[in-house]
C-alpha cells in the first residue's frame, strides 16, 4: 500500500482510463487546447505488442480483476475487459451496429425499463461523425431497411468468405434479410492505415491498424495533440472540495507504490462499467456518505449485459473457418423489434460470419464442450474445415438487483474490492430460447450436414449500466453527456451510462456518446470547469 504522496501540477482534464471513451474525450479536449492527462492501470501497449496468437492475446486482458462475481450468469469480465492503454477496445471485435430509435423509448412504448433522456436523433449525427473519424466499412443505405437515413460509411463493405456466405440461404428461407456487416475495419486504405488482410486475428489486437483500436484512432490523435498517458497507474479515488459540489482531481498509485494527487478542473471516470461504480463508491466523503454522485443510491445499479444464442453448423465443404475477421460479414436487425419473438421481450441482432480459430475462448473446440480425448481430436480435424457459426445477440432488460457494490476485502492499493451480482430472469431465458429455436430452423435451411447448439449456459457478453443516465438525480447518476447530476465537473464515460442496452454491440455507441459529450464540454468549458 502506498505510504507517500506526490502532488502533481494541476491540469485541465484528468481521465481515469485510456480505453474507447477516455481516448475520445482526450482527443477532443486536447485538440481544443486543454491539458489532458489519462491515467491507466496497465501497460502502455504498442502496436508491436499485439501478437497474433490466442495465448499471447490473453496478455491484453485483465489478470485477477478486483471483482468478485456472483449470480447464476456471472458478469463478463475476463474476456471482455481491458487491461492497459487502449482498454477493451484494443481487442474489440469492431462490430458497429448502432442502437435504433426503439431502444431509446422502451418505457414510453412498452412501459418497461427506462427511457433514455435523449432520442436516436440526438445520437445519430455522432454515429455518422465517428464513422468518418475512425473508419467504418459497410453499406449504410442497406441498413436503412431498419433505421433512419444517415451518411454513407467512408468505406465499402468488407470481403466475404464461405464461412459466412453459407448461412445466407438459411436466413432467406426464414424471411430474414441480411446486409453487409458494419465494422470498424478498413476494407480499403483509410487515413494512412492499411486495408485489412483478413487473417482472423482481430480479437487479440490488430497490429497493422486496419482495425480501429484507440492506439490508431482517438488516442493517437490525443497524443499528437499533447495529451499525456500515465500507464501502470491505478486510480483509487475521485477527490472533491469541502462543499462536495466540485471535483478537484484524482488520487492514484503508480507502479512503485507511490501515491499521487492529480488536480484537474474536470474529472472523467472512463474505467468501464464495473470499475467506475467501484471508484465512485470508494470516493465517499461527509458530503457524499454513500459514495460520490450517489444520492439516488443508483451508483452500481442496473448492471446489464447482452447474451448470445449461438448456432453451430458443420458443412462438407472446406469453409476455411479461420479466415476473415472476428467481426461479422453480414448482419440483420430483422428481429430488433422489442416484441419480435412471441412470449419474450427484447431486441435481437444477428451477426454472421466471424472467423473461428482453433483455440481460445471462442475457439472451435468450445463449440462442443462435452468432447474430450480422441473424440475431441477427431472433431477438430473435421471442424477446422467444415465448421461455422452465427450469433444472435440478445438484449437484457435492466434490473436494479444486478449491481456493483463494495466489499470489505481490499486490493493491493487498499481499495475495497467490488462484488458484481448478475442474473437473468425468465424473460431473458425466453428470448434466448426463442433465438435458439429459430437458429435451428435457420441452420437446417442451409446445406449444413450437422446443426447444433450449446444450451447448458447463457453466455453473457458486454458489460453495461451501473451509472445510468436520466433526467435527474432521482432516477439516474448522470445526464446524457455523462455529467453527474451532483458534481457538474465530474463525468462518467463509457457503457456504464446506458440506461438500457438494446442488442447492438456497445462500442460504437460509446464512441458516439463520448464524442457528443466531449464536444459539448469543450463548447461549454467555462461554465462547467469553472
Amino acid at each position: 500500500m502506498a505510504t507517500q504522496q506526490k502532488m502533481e501540477e494541476k491540469v485541465d482534464v484528468v481521465i481515469a482510463g485510456a480505453g474507447a471513451s477516455g481516448s475520445t474525450f482526450a482527443a477532443v479536449l486536447a485538440k481544443a487546447g486543454k491539458k489532458v492527462v489519462l491515467i491507466d492501470n496497465g501497460p502502455d501497449w504498442q502496436a508491436s505488442d499485439l501478437i497474433s496468437s490466442d495465448l499471447w492475446g490473453r496478455r491484453i486482458k485483465p489478470a485477477g480483476p478486483p471483482f468478485i462475481l456472483e449470480g447464476k450468469q456471472v458478469a463478463p469480465i475476463g474476456y471482455h475487459g481491458g487491461w492497459g492503454v487502449g482498454g477493451a477496445a484494443l481487442h474489440w471485435f469492431a462490430n458497429v451496429p448502432r442502437l435504433l430509435p426503439n431502444d431509446f423509448k422502451i418505457k414510453s412504448e412498452h412501459n418497461r425499463a427506462h427511457d433514455w433522456p435523449i432520442a436516436y436523433e440526438d445520437v445519430a449525427p455522432w454515429y455518422d461523425k465517428v464513422a468518418h473519424d475512425i473508419g467504418i466499412s459497410g453499406d449504410a443505405k442497406a441498413e436503412e431497411l431498419w433505421r433512419p437515413a444517415g451518411r454513407n460509411y467512408p468505406m465499402p463493405p468488407m470481403k466475404t468468405f464461405k464461412n459466412g456466405e453459407v448461412w445466407l440461404k438459411g436466413f432467406a428461407a426464414n424471411n430474414i434479410r441480411m446486409v453487409p456487416a458494419a465494422v470498424a475495419m478498413n476494407s480499403t486504405d483509410f487515413k494512412g492505415r492499411p486495408g485489412c488482410i483478413y487473417d482472423g486475428w482481430c480479437h487479440v489486437g490488430c497490429p497493422i491498424g486496419a482495425l480501429a483500436n484507440p492506439l490508431v484512432t482517438y488516442l493517437g490523435e490525443a497524443r499528437a495533440a499533447g495529451a499525456e498517458v500515465r500507464a501502470w497507474s491505478t486510480v483509487t479515488r475521485v477527490l472533491t472540495d469541502a462543499s462536495g459540489k466540485k471535483a478537484t482531481g484524482l488520487e492514484y498509485v503508480d507502479r512503485d507504490g507511490e501515491k499521487h494527487i492529480q488536480p484537474a478542473s474536470v474529472v472523467i471516470c472512463a474505467s468501464w462499467a464495473a470499475q467506475n461504480p467501484r471508484l465512485l463508491l470508494n470516493s465517499s466523503t461527509d458530503k457524499h456518505p454513500n459514495g460520490l454522485a450517489n444520492s439516488s443510491g443508483l451508483v452500481g445499479k442496473y448492471i446489464m449485459t447482452h447474451f448470445t444464442a449461438v448456432t453451430n453448423a458443420m458443412f462438407d465443404d472446406d469453409l476455411e473457418p479461420a479466415r476473415g475477421t472476428i467481426g461479422g460479414q453480414f448482419m440483420s436487425y430483422e428481429r430488433y423489434s422489442k416484441t419480435a419473438h412471441k412470449g419474450a421481450f427484447g431486441s435481437t441482432l444477428f451477426a454472421v460470419g466471424a472467423a473461428a480459430k482453433v483455440s481460445g475462448l471462442t475457439g472451435i473446440h468450445n463449440s462442443r464442450p462435452e468432447l474430450f480425448g480422441a473424440d475431441l481430436a477427431a472433431f477438430m480435424k473435421r471442424a477446422v474445415r467444415g465448421y461455422t457459426r452465427y450469433t444472435a445477440a440478445c438484449e437484457e432488460q435492466p434490473k436494479i438487483e444486478n449491481r456493483v457494490e463494495l466489499v470489505s476485502q481490499k486490493d493491493e492499493f487498499g481499495m475495497p474490492l467490488a462484488k458484481i451480482t448478475h442474473n437473468y430472469d425468465d424473460n431473458e431465458m425466453a428470448l434466448w430460447t426463442a433465438n435458439l429455436d429459430e437458429g435451428m430452423k435457420i441452420g437446417h435451411a442451409t446445406d449444413a450436414k450437422e446443426v447444433w447448439q450449446v444450451r447448458t449456459a447463457m453466455p453473457a457478453i458486454h458489460l453495461m449500466g451501473g451509472t445510468i443516465m436520466g433526467t435527474d438525480a432521482g432516477n439516474s447518476v448522470v445526464n446524457s453527456f455523462g455529467q453527474t447530476h451532483e458534481v457538474p465537473n465530474l463525468y462518467v464515460a463509457g457503457p456504464g451510462i446506458f440506461p438500457t442496452c438494446g442488442a447492438s454491440n456497445p462500442t460504437y455507441t460509446i464512441f458516439a456518446l463520448s464524442l457528443r459529450a466531449a464536444e459539448n464540454l469543450a463548447s461549454n468549458w467555462g461554465s462547467i470547469a469553472g
Binding site: L55, R58, A63, G192, I197, W201, V358
Partner: protein, 193 residues
C-alpha cells in the same frame, strides 16, 4: 507525452512476430534461461519450478486424457512455467475465466481434488488409472458427478485443463500445421513454435 503509435506494415509485422518468438517461453536449464517450447522443455528434462513431481505427473495424465498429444506437447511444463510468472504476464486461459491469482493455487487445488477423488473411487491416483478409468473419471468430472468432490468447481477444472491441453496441442503454429490450417494465411513468421 507517449510515443506516437505507428501502424506496422506486413514486413514489419513479420519481423516483430519473429522477435516475439511465438510460443517460446523462458525455461531454466542448468542454471541458464533458454527460450524453448514446452514440448522441448519436457523432452530436455527441464526441472519444474513450482509443481511437485507427482503434481506434474497428474497434470500430464489429465492433459493426455483431455486431448491426446498434450503430454508430449509439454502441458505440465507449460502450466508450471506460466504459474511461475506474474499474473499480468500469464497466458493461461484461467486468466480469462476469472480464476483468482496466484494461479498455482487453482492448479494445486484441482490436482489435489482429482487425486483425492480418484483414490476414493479406485484406490489409485489419477495417473495410475488405466485409460478407460481415466476417461470415465473425466466424463464424471465434467458433469459434476464426482461423489464427495473437494476442490474448485469441477466444471471449471474441466474447462481450464481442457483449454490448456488445446493450447499446447493446437494453439501453436505447429498445432495449426498438424491440423492442416494455415496459421496466418498472409503472414508467416519465420520462427515456429
Amino acid at each position: 507525452m507517449g510515443a506516437e503509435p505507428k501502424p506496422l506494415g506486413d514486413l514489419q509485422r513479420r519481423v516483430f512476430l519473429k522477435g516475439a518468438g511465438m510460443g517460446l517461453f523462458a525455461f531454466t536449464l542448468g542454471g541458464v534461461e533458454i527460450l524453448m517450447s514446452p514440448g522441448e522443455a519436457r523432452a530436455r528434462g527441464v526441472p519444474f519450478r513450482l509443481l511437485k513431481a507427482d503434481e506434474a505427473e497428474t497434470l500430464e495424465a489429465l492433459g493426455e486424457t483431455l486431448l491426446p498429444g498434450a503430454r508430449e506437447a509439454g502441458v505440465a511444463h507449460f502450466i508450471d512455467q506460466q504459474v511461475s510468472v506474474t499474473p499480468g504476464e500469464a497466458l493461461l486461459e484461467a486468466r480469462i475465466v476469472n480464476v483468482k491469482p496466484p494461479y498455482i493455487n487453482f492448479y494445486r487445488a484441482a490436482i489435489a481434488g482429482i487425486d483425492r477423488a480418484a483414490t476414493a473411487r479406485s484406490g489409485k491416483r489419477f495417473a495410475a488409472l488405466n485409460a478407460t478409468e481415466q476417461h470415465d473419471f473425466i466424463d464424471a468430472l465434467r458433469q459434476n458427478k464426482i461423489e464427495g468432490w473437494q476442490g474448485p468447481p469441477p466444471g471449471l477444472v474441466y474447462f481450464v485443463l481442457r483449454s490448456d491441453s488445446v493450447d499446447v496441442v493446437y494453439g501453436t503454429m505447429e498445432g495449426y500445421e498438424s491440423l492442416g490450417v494455415p496459421y496466418m494465411a498472409h503472414i508467416e513468421p519465420d520462427k515456429r513454435w
